[in-house]
Symmetry: C2
């Protein structure tokens, strides 16, 4: 998908605002057609990789679909979830596997660092698939000249995060590249987890009438990293990354037999991206209420000044859950009973039509489309 020229610099909110085009009188027929177009496999028209391919929005989605999934495709990869759920002969249940590279800049930020992120991010990708995280691997690409004390602090941070999440880092690798060929440190973690009830969760289970829940306030991580990078001359002393492991919250829901249909953690691209992907894959509409969205004051302030919608800002400790309407209240209560979900709330519901669309009902009574992220307003968040 080629981007319009300009307006896609770091910190620019123009792209996001353009994506959230106002539609006060949605014409069903037009929207249906848009939805149909969107369901086709997108074509990758660019000849070179741009930053927007890594921002968690439309360009990255196209790259994944038109290149990685098209070439490597198989039934597991084609699920395009945060984790693949795969069978192993003789195992009662299934394995979940997931992988993520972390390239966040700066390496250390208020509330966390790349090491903690690399553990929690992968633990969460397992957890939202209903998988108990068991084992992690960690592969390090080090830039020549990296400070060893900094590296040690980050690895110690990984150890603490792994202990908290109840996983063990069982295998690793280290590569070193010359000065100027990396940005200090990249970490790739891969997680292996156990899914006791395969098929219990998935986009295929989402249905009209389901409630959409959010485990807490949005945008803390992305806003923190943006400020920590110093690109923006703002101070928000109370702002901290929300990086944390969500498995305890997920386990509480599953153990209580809540009828959860789908979960995903809202990282790159934020809650808007999770909802769009779910709506597209499930062929449903999602309607959310702006007033119901929990946003901390500091994030609201940063977002307003930068002109960015918090719905698109990355989180590292928040999940979206789609649950049967009858179980919604109980699910929120269970989430709130955990430290991870203290600010959990219901933010909207699933509808049958128009498929593949996400709407937000604004505080002043209007409705607008919440589209996929276009461009690259928030680079290198994770």
């Amino acid at each position: 998908m080629s981007e319009p020229a300009g307006g896609h610099r770091a910190g620019s909110g123009a792209a996001i605002r353009a994506a959230a085009e106002s539609v006060t009188d949605p014409e069903q027929r037009v929207l249906q057609r848009i939805a149909e177009i969107r369901k086709r496999r997108p074509a990758l028209r660019e000849t070179a990789i741009s930053m927007s391919h890594g921002a968690g929005g439309r360009a990255g989605h196209t790259l994944t679909q038109a290149l990685f999934a098209a070439v490597l495709g198989n039934p597991y990869l084609d699920q395009l979830g945060d984790q693949a759920v795969v069978p192993v002969a003789g195992l009662d249940g299934a394995l979940a596997v997931t992988t993520d590279s972390f390239v966040v800049s700066p390496l250390v930020f208020p509330g966390g660092d790349i090491g903690e992120l690399a553990v929690n991010g992968t633990v969460n990708d397992l957890a939202v698939g209903g998988a108990q995280p068991l084992y992690l691997t960690a592969a390090f690409v080090l830039e020549e000249g990296l400070d060893v004390a900094l590296l040690r602090g980050i690895v110690e941070s990984m150890r603490r995060a792994a202990d908290r999440a109840g996983v063990e880092v069982v295998a690793g690798d280290t590569k070193v590249v010359p000065r100027g060929k990396a940005d200090q440190l990249f970490i790739t973690t891969t997680g292996v987890g156990l899914v006791r009830q395969p098929g219990r969760l998935g986009v295929h289970r989402i249905q009209a009438g389901d409630a959409v829940l959010l485990s807490g306030a949005i945008g803390d991580h992305g806003a923190t990293v943006m400020l920590a990078r110093g690109d923006v001359d703002l101070e928000a002393p109370g702002l901290r990354s929300d990086t944390m492991a969500l498995w305890p919250l997920v386990a509480a829901l599953l153990d209580a037999d809540v009828e959860v249909h789908f979960m995903r953690d809202a990282t790159r691209g934020g809650v808007a991206t999770v909802l769009n992907e779910a709506a597209q894959q499930a062929g449903v509409a999602v309607a959310i209420d702006e007033e119901a969205l929990p946003v901390h004051d500091e994030v609201r302030g940063v977002a307003e000044i930068l002109g960015i919608d918090p719905l698109y800002i990355a989180n590292e400790g928040k999940l979206v859950a789609v649950v049967a309407a009858a179980d919604a209240e109980r699910a929120v209560a269970i989430m709130r009973s955990t430290p991870e979900g203290a600010e959990a709330t219901r933010i909207g519901e699933v509808r049958a039509d128009p498929p593949a669309m996400v709407f937000i009902r604004t505080a002043f009574g209007g409705t607008r489309v919440v589209d996929m992220l276009v461009g690259d307003p928030l680079p290198r968040i994770c």
Copy 2:
């Protein structure tokens, strides 16, 4: 371990030659003391990462032991094998997991590319643990500006390698970093395999009297990449990387109930590093015969001109196997019956003393110590 000043540039063979110090009259007492010193946990004295930390030799070993293993340590990681063998409740057997980042430069070289390497390398790390490779994950760090056609070719190469090896890439991730913050493309693959007989293989099973086998000629991959990089003004038209999946060869040995005690693929640091790590971990000596080592003429030529010992050059399709002496001939015959092991041969044997030492008997009747690699003569081979 701090390096002596100078002499550790890319392509310099001085470090390697220095490491292979001549010892024609090994004094048992001195060697024992060296071995004792070596068994202590090394201290990481450098304050910054250098290229030698990634070369597969002594500095990298120290970094792994003194930082990663010291901080993240657990019984699985502490095995420090190419793969971790981990239990999963209810599974008949065990899982093997392994991870590797690939940062090879150039991305494409005679006989392969980074994509093929990333699949085969991880498949082989599973295979040498006796694990049937089942699933891979692949995480991509892309540099802004990377040519999309080049990326597509590399991903297609991964697909072909995965098909040949019988594995599926089930999960992936893509990150993009700004121009100048990576070197075109890094790929991290993680493999999950099934070990039917946990405990069948391992350094703990190595014993005096065992035969040491090698699955084929050494140095093809490393020599190819060095020339492809253009650092050295040499041509060797017949030279190609040996990148290939070794699982068929390993499966043939295991299925025939050969009494294999230990296997490892000889990648970064070459056969010398595999033998040193095995000797150290098992507390045994290994003696090999220089004349028995299969080395293709092109590699021998490149190595002689560069002053590098082929024993330290990386391979991407060769393994070292330690087998019970009584099964050695049968094992070589089985290996030779597979396309992967056509040039397999017996290269030496395990001895009780002096522990943690590797010797080579030279063609002219002498004996010298084959030490761990010091410095960084062969960077970014994988």
